[in-house]
């Protein structure tokens, strides 16, 4: 955390607390918007019919049993046609490193220390650009036509607060007061009142972009992380021990607290058995290898693919990419590490979906709250900027550049930040209309004023 700014870590902590507690924001910075979703009820329950531990938000007065029933019905009805996966690069990813303007004479002047050497990963649609050497997986995806690149996406007069700018992206409007996410409003329009898995946050907390006004959505805390190991216990003894957990839970007795603890012990035992197929160590039954890492990110996407393969009724999914992109200092190493695992994992996810025959059903959007200042700072890093990079991945994407790279000579604003050539709300409107087949005007404020981009082939 040493190289991220104070505002960033504080806002991350605040956001976590708020999304969990719904307790409102402290008045540390007047004008800082409250994240979408604040104030929604959170209720944990077990969806026994599918064996997932989920927290459900915005479910109103529905009883857990009713929600179970709803999930069972949604399961019976079959999977959703299309799935949208929204992946957030937290902190403001440096687009000028991810897809760097090797052929722009200004680049080396603005980045005397941080300018990258030619990686050889040429971006054929604009040969000034090169992929970061750690993002070779993106080069592969792009050359296969499965990655559309938005080299300068954002909005005019970009706000340089992590908190505010991320909020704008999440709610799909530059409105600090909006309390629902853009995907949440979409689900409010087309969703079902009894399927919380239609909007799933894989980060454990509710993703604000999924915050609804009325339809239930869920936060999943690690379908692949419900194993019960004990130090110094293995083999046959471990198997007997796990059986004994069920025995401890099934004893009778009249004391209410003891009976409650036994019931939870028994439920936990059942849930462990149900989730065994999704266990990390079992590899989620993934047909392709994912990068090995201590991070949750590869497991989250491997688990997502296995849940889609199992026919779970997921429709909109949100999670954070691996890495901390608020690279105010010592950018080179941190950025390379984050980009490497993120891009390799996304390639593995695409290959997984292809192998499972699901690739035509899934579109993945990768975004960050802003890009970074074109000129490097004095501590081997970069400060907050304006426009940044966006990616659309999938077998049905057009695979071409959307908007252009404006160049560093004429493409910077008065603050020295990259100007947007595509508004992020144009991306949202296009995804809503072309991928999710809904009227964007019902979801995105002033949708008419944003150009539509051809995103599918």
């Amino acid at each position: 955390m040493s190289d991220c700014c104070r505002e960033f870590s504080r806002s991350a902590l605040l956001r976590k607390a708020v999304a969990e507690a719904g307790s409102g924001l402290p008045a540390i910075e007047p004008g800082m918007p409250v994240p979408a979703g604040t104030g929604l009820d959170r209720r944990s329950f077990i969806a026994r019919s599918v064996g997932l531990a989920v927290a459900v938000y915005g479910a109103g007065s529905l009883s857990p049993r009713f929600l179970d029933h709803g999930i069972a019905q949604a399961l019976a009805a079959g999977p959703s046609d299309t799935v949208l996966v929204s992946i957030f690069m937290d902190g403001g990813a440096d687009s000028l490193s991810l897809l760097f303007p090797h052929g722009d004479p200004e680049y080396r002047r603005l980045r005397p220390k941080l300018a990258l050497r030619d990686s050889g990963l040429v971006f054929p649609e604009d040969t000034r650009l090169r992929w970061h050497p750690s993002a070779a997986a993106f080069h592969t995806l792009h050359s296969e036509g499965k990655l559309s690149v938005l080299p300068a996406v954002g909005y005019t007069d970009a706000d340089q607060s992590h908190f505010t700018s991320r909020h704008y992206w999440e709610v799909g409007a530059t409105n600090p007061q909006l309390r629902t996410g853009w995907l949440g409003r979409y689900l409010d329009r087309v969703g079902s009142p009894d399927n919380p898995l239609q909007g799933v946050s894989l980060d454990g907390d509710l993703s604000p972009s999924l915050a609804t006004a009325k339809m239930p959505v869920a936060a999943l805390s690690g379908a692949g992380n419900y194993s019960f190991g004990a130090p110094g216990v293995w083999g046959q003894v471990e198997a007997r021990m796990l059986d004994a957990v069920g025995d401890l839970g099934s004893a009778g007795g009249t004391d209410p607290a003891l009976a409650g603890a036994r019931a939870v012990t028994s439920q936990s035992d059942r849930l462990r058995r149900q989730l065994e197929p999704f266990d990390t160590e079992n590899g989620f039954g993934s047909p392709v290898p994912y990068p090995k890492s201590d991070s949750d990110f590869p497991d989250q996407l491997a688990g997502l693919a296995s849940m889609l393969a199992a026919g779970l009724p997921l429709h909109c999914v949100a999670l954070s990419a691996y890495g901390m992109y608020d690279t105010h200092s010592d950018q080179a190493a941190d950025l390379a590490e984050g980009l490497k695992l993120t891009s390799d994992t996304l390639l593995a996810f695409q290959r997984d979906l292809e192998a499972r025959g699901l690739a035509d059903r899934v579109l993945t959007l990768v975004w960050s709250e802003f890009g970074r200042r074109a000129e490097e700072n004095g501590s081997d890093g970069t400060d907050h900027g304006a426009a940044g990079i966006g990616l659309l991945m999938g077998s049905r994407v057009r695979g071409t550049m959307i908007g252009e790279f404006p160049g560093l000579k004429n493409g910077l604003d008065d603050d020295g930040n990259l100007k947007a050539t595509v508004d992020y709300r144009s991306v949202y409107c296009s995804v809503l209309e072309q991928w999710l087949a809904t009227d964007a005007a019902a979801v995105i404020p002033q949708a008419k004023s944003f150009a539509r981009l051809p995103i599918l082939r």
Partner: protein, 447 residues
């Protein structure tokens, strides 16, 4: 007739099992041998040794982080939690820490809104020093406490633009209960009475210099609970404590921290009289609750995650030596200084499948340094292994159902030892597993 008006006192046997329950409800469980020693004091002696403990001694190794450095409670994330957990584990005055935990939940203030571990720890000292004194004094101290002033907008509440946040919660959550004898007008007038607190902003340190500023106070007449006067913040506190509905709120809420089922009408009435007669002193009410028959003969209570983990550390004699206690407690649903909202933690919701998993991992983390290697000598005998594993945890009382399940596990696991190497290696594995199963058994999740 006068005897009937007194709070009932437990008259049954006060042995190690009763002393063990008392140590869990009024503290963080026994150290090895502590329940037996406490039982010898008898009920009165045992309760008074908790409620009137003299000086504090800290027993055991000082807290360190994963790198074996001293913890930094005001600076490093999560070290505030470690600091308090250490007090719970090492203190010789467990009830003082337990009462501080009660007040932390009662006046639930979260660092998510305060943003300063220093101010949270300052508030924590208040709960420790005033936790058994006068509730009125406690309320007065909390009202001007900087963390509370930040948390419930006390410093935003000024003459001309009152902020009702604290005034409302003082009535609803701290003294009277929702819709129990106050009106919206009372809330607004209360907010006016509470005006006057302020702080300054320091770019490096945040809010500093908390103080009462007459210029910001609304000196006009107010009407609260039908009484008229030029009330200020101290009047606001006293009006709430002296409100006829406060005593029943206080007794019912305080009782709920120690005994899971509500008191009978007679007990409640007697406790209320005790409370008022002693000028709103907390200690006599706590003593009466700790001597009440329902504590010993009534149903069990689920231990909160922090009580659960502090208890395991006390039982094993292990000190604070890893930051894992913070994030594991968070996963189990109770990170100190971060209650979920101003109403505190929900004591009916401690256990679910996610928090059970976290408790399982907590137990494993506690056990890690004590793991028996496969080369350790252990008897190939289920009864003896169970006895040894129970002794590891200080011999807690288990229900017969749980004992049966544990013994059945040990018997089956040892029966798998069909080779000579298994007959030497399995017993220590089974003993490790028994320790784990005891720790997560329904019996040890409750007290």
């Amino acid at each position: 007739l006068s005897a009937a008006r007194k709070v009932p006192v437990y008259r049954g046997r006060f042995g190690p099992a009763e002393a063990e329950r008392l140590l869990w409800r009024a503290g963080f469980g026994p150290r090895p041998g502590e329940a037996e020693r406490l039982a010898k004091k008898g009920l009165d002696g045992a309760v008074h040794s908790l409620t009137r403990a003299k000086r504090e001694r800290l027993v055991g190794p000082a807290p360190v982080d994963d790198d074996k450095h001293s913890i930094a409670p005001t600076d490093a994330w999560g070290h505030d939690h470690l600091w308090w957990l250490d007090r719970m584990v090492r203190t010789s005055r467990p009830l003082v820490e337990r009462m501080a935990l009660v007040w932390h939940d009662w006046f639930a203030t979260s660092n998510a809104g305060v943003g300063s571990q220093r101010l949270m720890l300052k508030q924590n000292r208040l709960f420790r020093s005033r936790g058994l004194g006068s509730f009125e004094q406690l309320l007065l101290s909390v009202t001007k406490d900087p963390a509370m002033l930040l948390w419930l907008s006390g410093t935003d509440n000024e003459k001309g633009s009152p902020n009702e946040n604290y005034g409302r919660e003082m009535m609803e959550l701290f003294t009277l209960g929702a819709n129990r004898g106050y009106t919206e007008r009372d809330v607004r007038e209360q907010a006016r009475a509470l005006t006057g607190f302020r702080s300054d902003w320091d770019d490096d340190r945040g809010p500093v210099n908390f103080r009462y500023d007459r210029e910001r106070h609304d000196p006009g007449r107010k009407r609260i609970f039908g009484k008229r006067g030029k009330f200020d913040w101290q009047d606001a506190c006293r009006l709430c404590v002296r409100h006829p509905n406060h005593r029943s709120f206080f007794v019912r809420k305080l009782w709920s921290y120690f005994i899971p089922t509500p008191p009978s009408a007679a007990t409640r009435g007697a406790l209320e009289r005790l409370y008022v007669r002693n000028d709103f002193a907390i200690r006599p009410v706590v003593e009466a609750i700790l001597k009440h028959p329902r504590l010993y003969s009534g149903p069990r209570m689920v231990k909160s995650p922090v009580v659960y983990i502090a208890g395991m550390l006390r039982a094993t004699g292990r000190g604070i030596d890893t930051e894992a206690w913070t994030w594991l407690a968070n996963q189990a649903g109770q990170q100190l200084f971060y209650p979920p909202n101003v109403a505190g933690w929900d004591d009916d919701r401690w256990l679910d499948t996610a928090s059970f998993h976290a408790r399982w991992n907590l137990a494993g983390r506690v056990l890690r340094p004590y793991v028996l290697k496969t080369s350790a000598a252990a008897p190939l005998d289920p009864d003896k292994l169970l006895e040894r594993a129970l002794a590891f945890w200080g011999g807690p009382a288990l229900t017969s159902e749980t004992q049966r399940a544990l013994k059945s596990f040990a018997t089956r696991a040892l029966a798998d030892a069909d080779r000579s190497w298994k007959r030497t290696q399995y017993p220590p594995l089974v003993e490790n597993a028994l320790r784990h199963l005891i720790a997560i058994s329904p019996d040890l999740q409750t007290s």
